[in-house]
Amino acid sequence: MSALLRARRGAVVVFGLAALTPLVVRDAYFLDSLVLILLWGALSAAWNVAGGYAGQVSIGHASFFGIGAYSAALMVTRFGRGPWLGLLVGVVLSIGAGLIIGVLSNRLKGPYFALSTIAFSQVLLIGVSRWRGFTAGAEGIPVPFRPGFATLGLGHTGWVYMALSVALVCYAVEVYLERSRVGYQLAGVREDEDAAEALGIHTRKLKVGAVALSAALTSICGSLWAQYVGFVDPTYVFSVDLSVRFALNAIIGGMGTALGPFLGSILITSLETYLRATFSNWDARFAGIYLVIYGTALILVVRFVPEGLAGIAARIRMRKAHA
């Protein structure tokens, strides 16, 4: 156990600090930022399962996020049940959607797969926006706050631990994919599918499974997010910008690593909350500015620092070891 902890030093620090913070800090704004960092990290880790570990780069993960968010919101507002049931329904639906996209991944490679995931998310966006009778259309759904665990009406501290739990689950899944038999086989699929097939690996099943798992985790985060933020709007939850955001954190932090998505999230989400605080009179229009920054960061990182923050950290550690 101690060897495991030592190998995962970074994670211990990150998650440990997150766990301890609510005990020390009371500032609501700070805790809110922490919740967002953890949720975005979890979302990027979920994306990483498909993108980084299975090599299926999707720019359409907002599909699953939106399904989760809407399932939770509708379950509460339309069916009068609790959000946890909505979360469950969202997971089931997202796994279904993930299976469809997984099948697409077997027929399409690289950029074309990515394009098709964008198409998928936009089909959902338009469909949900137009289905006024059921989903309240493009106006979105406000999600009521009712205190209590069953209704996910938590205080700031409660949300920190909720988000931390999800983050840990996603992190654990990633670690499992690094160390397990399935994980190694998935690595083979990612590196060279034909070679992996020749070694007895059922590449199709693994790819579809990875995408479905990634979808389920993303959906869970979406459901929680809906309850946390309190408003679900189709043009946001199914947007391409959102999908790009999931990938962005993982890439900046280190795409093939377990902690990478969280490192990326820490950097990006902190930057965003800082900017938002400093320029508090920004409207939606100026929100575009940090998207411009993200887009530029994506271009630069992917070209010049492809291993991301985690890779840089590993290089520094190796240099110290040799010194």
Binding site: Y112, I126, R285, I299
Partner: protein, 304 residues
């Protein structure tokens, strides 16, 4: 419909109207797609930002109209050299570095570019829907019992003219031949002494000029907003896949087919369907006919 019942005059009118609409629309889609098929066919890069250059063309038409009351059909001739230069710059800054990189790097680079362009537009001009309404938008032409709108006709004609000019360029100039050779076999081209970097630069610039010009032309026909490019980019990928990578004639035929499906679909299922249409069609074509209509090199292998 009862097959025994012969086509009466009413049905023929409808068919004629749909046919005209298809041709008009197809001409415009051809101009959008022809640039993409060149970029994709020669450089073998999937440009996720292609639609954003179209969007910028639309905004160019809008601002020229609002500030100078310039008609889009004159602006288009300014747009061509302007976007050509833009293409050169973007190639140098962004594309050149990733031509030989892995798929993932190319995807994220052009996705990043797309995000940047969309949001620059958002910040600069807000997300409000804009409209370009030149005088000819309300002018209706009649031929027999078919009616169409002058704007559409002129846009189509200019688009087709530009597309044909491009085809002629590819076929009869030395530069065009060199580009086609590079499309067929990158390595052989290098061995023959072709400077592929220059070919790529020219290709990209031409592609962006074409799609920017197309943006100016379609501005009066659609709403102008920062994410307007998205629907067009997916549609043009459908055309490119159907027609075959790098095949300009295929892009033109593919454009007609896509236009036909859209026109027929809107007629039978209503205009609201049109928005989803592009995306569903994209998925369907890729899943069922990735090798294109003519059995060309398939999308799924993306033989890079």
């Amino acid at each position: 419909m009862d097959p025994a019942r012969r086509l009466g005059p009413a049905q023929i009118d409808v068919l004629a109207q749909l046919a005209v609409a298809t041709v008009l629309l197809g001409g415009i889609y051809a101009l959008i797609s022809v640039g993409l098929t060149l970029i994709f066919g020669i450089m073998r890069v999937v440009n996720f930002a292609h639609g954003e250059f179209l969007m910028l063309g639309m905004y160019l038409a809008f601002w020229a109209f609002v500030v100078f009351t310039a008609d889009p059909y004159f602006v288009v001739f300014v747009a061509i050299p302007l976007f050509f230069v833009v293409g050169l710059v973007v190639y140098g800054l962004v594309m050149r570095g990733v031509i030989h990189a892995s798929h993932n790097v190319q995807i994220f680079t052009t996705v990043g570019l797309s995000t940047v362009l969309q949001n620059v537009a958002l910040v600069a001009w807000s997300g409000d829907f804009r409209f370009v309404r030149p005088w000819h938008l309300s002018t209706v032409l009649r031929a027999g019992s078919t009616i169409f709108n002058l704007t559409q006709v002129v846009a189509s004609l200019i688009a087709v003219a530009l597309t044909l000019a491009l085809v002629a360029f590819m076929k009869w100039t030395h530069a065009g031949r060199v580009m086609r050779a590079t499309a067929q076999d990158r390595e052989a081209a290098t061995l023959m002494g072709i400077d592929t970097d220059r070919v790529y630069r020219l290709t990209f610039a031409i592609g962006i000029a074409a799609v920017g010009a197309a943006g100016v032309l379609v501005a009066p026909l659609y709403s102008v907003y920062p994410t307007a490019g998205l629907q067009f980019v997916l549609l043009s990928y459908v055309v490119v896949v159907l027609g075959g990578l790098g095949d300009m004639l295929g892009a033109m035929i593919g454009s007609l087919i896509v236009a036909a499906v859209e026109v027929a679909g809107s007629y039978f299922f209503g205009v609201a369907w049109k928005e989803i249409f592009y995306f569903i069609l994209f998925i369907l074509v890729l899943v069922f006919r990735p090798a294109g209509l003519f059995g060309q090199r398939g999308a799924e292998t993306l033989g890079v």
